[in-house]
């Protein structure tokens, strides 16, 4: 994959394909929870699809990802297969984690989804370690830590970014600023105007950029530069991808703390509607193409759900496995 090319309509379409897959996965997961078909603890990424999709198109399967509990968009963007993803949500033994991790701890090393953490801020120190391993081995991989704006307020953020800068690690810190730290507004929890302002504290080895994460081209360019910088050995990047979280903090959260006017204004510029129009306007795909793409992705999701439903639950002895490895 070339990382230096400029953004083309073909790139736009690739981002759209991943973003649409994320949207379909998220909407269907919420539907399955609402209908009582499954019972994961779920944190919807609705509204943040472009950020993850533009990240995903720049990464190889061998690149590492540490994401967080609000992470299904990142996992799908990284190439996580839907069957083992859904089977985990359905608490089946065929799930990626055999039903022992769940939605908050999805792991799939084959697609580079190394850690999904349920602890705010903990993706960053771990991503550094994978980046350190790559630096020692010279294997050209990059490590991406995703996290929210709230996570930039926890100590792990500072420790990890400082270490990454001192060691010039191939780590990309992708902050998805959705303007709400759980239920608290950005300005009530975060001291700086922009998260990327914090990069300056880590000296010349750390680059900080803020972009409209809901704009495919801006986000794609930011990831391209960060990946190129990491692969070349030039060091880490802090990307602040500005976005918005439509569905509240957790599934079922009515988000009374989001002013109605703010929510309405954000809904009016839904990034998924915007990118769809951009794709059509660019001529890279027709309306028929997009309808067919949606049908194809819906079918993929349905097949994954069927796989999950048809799968057995874990046996009780699973509780006693995977505690220690064979010494």
């Amino acid at each position: 994959m070339t990382t230096s090319a400029s953004f083309t309509s073909k790139d736009l379409y690739e981002v759209y394909k991943k973003a649409l897959k994320i949207l379909i996965v998220d909407e269907n997961i919420r539907g399955l929870i609402r209908s009582g078909a499954m019972h994961p603890v779920y944190y919807s990424p609705r509204g943040q699809e472009i950020v993850a999709a533009a990240m995903g198109v720049h990464l190889e399967p061998t690149d590492y990802l540490c994401t967080i509990y609000r992470g299904v968009h990142d996992q799908v963007a990284k190439g996580m297969p839907l069957d083992v993803l859904l089977a985990e949500y359905f608490m089946k033994v065929t799930g990626a984690c055999k039903g022992k991790g769940g939605a908050m701890h999805i792991t799939h090393p084959a697609s580079g989804v190394m850690v999904t953490t349920g602890v705010v801020g903990s993706s960053m120190p771990i991503a550094n370690g994978m980046a350190w391993a790559s630096q020692i081995k010279g294997d050209d991989r990059v490590s991406v830590a995703t996290f929210g704006d709230g996570a930039s307020n926890i100590g792990a953020f500072h420790e990890a970014l400082n270490m990454a800068a001192v060691w010039k690690l191939p780590t990309i810190f992708l902050c998805q600023n959705n303007r709400y730290q759980e239920c608290t507004q950005y300005a009530d929890s975060t001291s700086c105007e922009k998260i990327s302002d914090r990069a300056a504290a880590y000296g010349p080895n750390m680059v900080g950029v803020s972009v409209d994460g809901n704009d495919a081209e801006e986000m794609w360019n930011a990831m391209r530069d960060a990946v190129a910088r990491a692969r070349s050995g030039a060091g880490p990047t802090l990307i602040e991808a500005n976005t918005f979280r439509y569905m509240g903090h957790y599934f079922g959260d009515q988000a009374p703390y989001i002013p109605k006017e703010e929510l309405a204004a954000e809904m009016a510029k839904d990034p998924m509607i915007r990118i769809r129009q951009q794709v059509l306007d660019s001529g890279v795909a027709t309306e028929d193409d997009l309808v067919a793409l949606k049908a194809e992705l819906e079918a993929e999701f349905e097949a994954a759900v069927q796989f999950a439903k048809d799968s057995p639950e874990p046996e009780l002895d699973e509780v006693y496995k995977d505690i220690y490895g064979a010494a």
Binding site: K98, K100, T107, P109, P125, N128, A327
Partner: protein, 332 residues
């Protein structure tokens, strides 16, 4: 090679051997490079020069980032050894250890594992007070997925540290600060001991002394004198505190019918309580006396030498407990 080796030399030797044997063994910690003096306690001296600063990295003072980087590197196929200078500082990295290192194998359904070793140092007796002296091993024994290892001789220190580094799971290796210059017989090259196995280092018939770390050094000084009095003590060195080698403990106590458990950590809710519970579960019919615990007081470690000594368990406490259990008294 000299036939004697002290604890500090033992740790250094184990690290050196491990790094020579396996290029995926890497190290990180505060001040560990030779440029910084080879570690505050000189354990890592010479290693950054020998193996390079890619593999032996001095870190910022950032315990979360240190343990996190060790975890991440292990997920990417390395075998990291992280030094947390003093055990009290491990509290800063608890999320990384408890929520991540210990659990990733289980939570990923066995897809990933975290073969890291966290070396740390602690122990009272040097007037370092409440934030530089705590024995916190019980917290980690209480965390499924962790292994907790504490050596009681320099030779064991080599063999157990090598075992931790080779082990496929996260190991916490605890070094005693006070006895770091105590010497003992040096082991053969590439001495590796099994984890999860206690060592019956001396057989006896009257009472099982079950311990790990420093109190074993106290027992070794009194065991012959007790034997001359006709008190036959069986010494069980746990070596690996968790997972606990219940079989060896049970076998010993079923034979002797009495048990004294000793550790430097504070008494309440400690390893001694767990060992005592397992003994009563498995050896109730064989017990001739209540199982006794020797431990330090349930307070913060004080600074003044006189107060610190009052806090610490004493060798005389161990001897008194041995005699008490033989008398069958329950008045302790």
């Amino acid at each position: 090679m000299s036939d004697k080796i002290n604890f500090t030399q033992a740790y250094n030797r184990a690290l050196d051997e491990a790094m020579a044997a396996d290029p995926t063994v890497i190290m990180l910690g505060e001040d560990i490079g030779d440029k910084e003096g080879g570690g505050v306690f000189k354990v890592t001296g010479g290693l950054s020069t020998k193996y390079g600063t890619d593999r032996v990295r001095t870190t910022p003072i950032s315990e979360q980032a240190i343990v996190g980087a060790a975890i991440g590197a292990s997920l990417a196929g390395m075998k990291p050894v992280a030094e947390i200078m003093l055990m009290n500082f491990i509290t800063v990295a608890m999320d990384m250890i408890v929520n991540h290192a210990a659990k990733l194998r289980f939570m990923s359904g066995g897809q990933t594992s975290v073969p890291i070793t966290i070396r740390t140092r602690t122990g009272a007796g040097m007037s370092a007070a409440g934030q530089h002296s705590d024995m916190l091993e019980a917290w980690f024994c209480h965390t499924a997925g962790m292994k907790v290892v504490i050596p009681s001789t320099p030779a064991d220190a080599v063999g157990l540290l090598r075992a931790c580094i080779e082990d496929p799971d996260p190991c916490l290796f605890i070094e005693d600060a006070l006895t770091r210059t105590v010497s003992g017989p040096a082991p053969e090259a590439n001495h590796i001991l099994p984890l999860g196995k206690a060592n019956v280092e001396r057989e006896g018939t009257d009472v099982s002394f079950i311990s790990y770390g420093r109190p074993l050094q106290d027992m070794r000084k009194m065991v012959d004198r007790l034997a001359e009095e006709g008190i036959s003590v069986e010494i069980v060195d746990l070596r690996t505190v968790s997972p606990l080698d219940t079989d060896t403990i049970v076998k010993s106590v079923n034979k002797t019918g009495r048990a004294v458990i000793a550790h430097e950590a504070v008494r309440s809710f400690g390893v001694g309580a767990e060992v005592a519970a397992r003994i009563q579960e498995h050896c109730f019919a064989a017990l001739k006396a209540p199982v006794l615990r020797v431990a330090s007081k349930d307070v913060a470690v004080p600074f003044a030498r006189k107060l610190e000594q009052e806090f610490l368990y004493k060798a005389t406490d161990i001897e008194a407990a041995i005699r008490q259990t033989l008398e069958g008294s329950t008045s302790r």
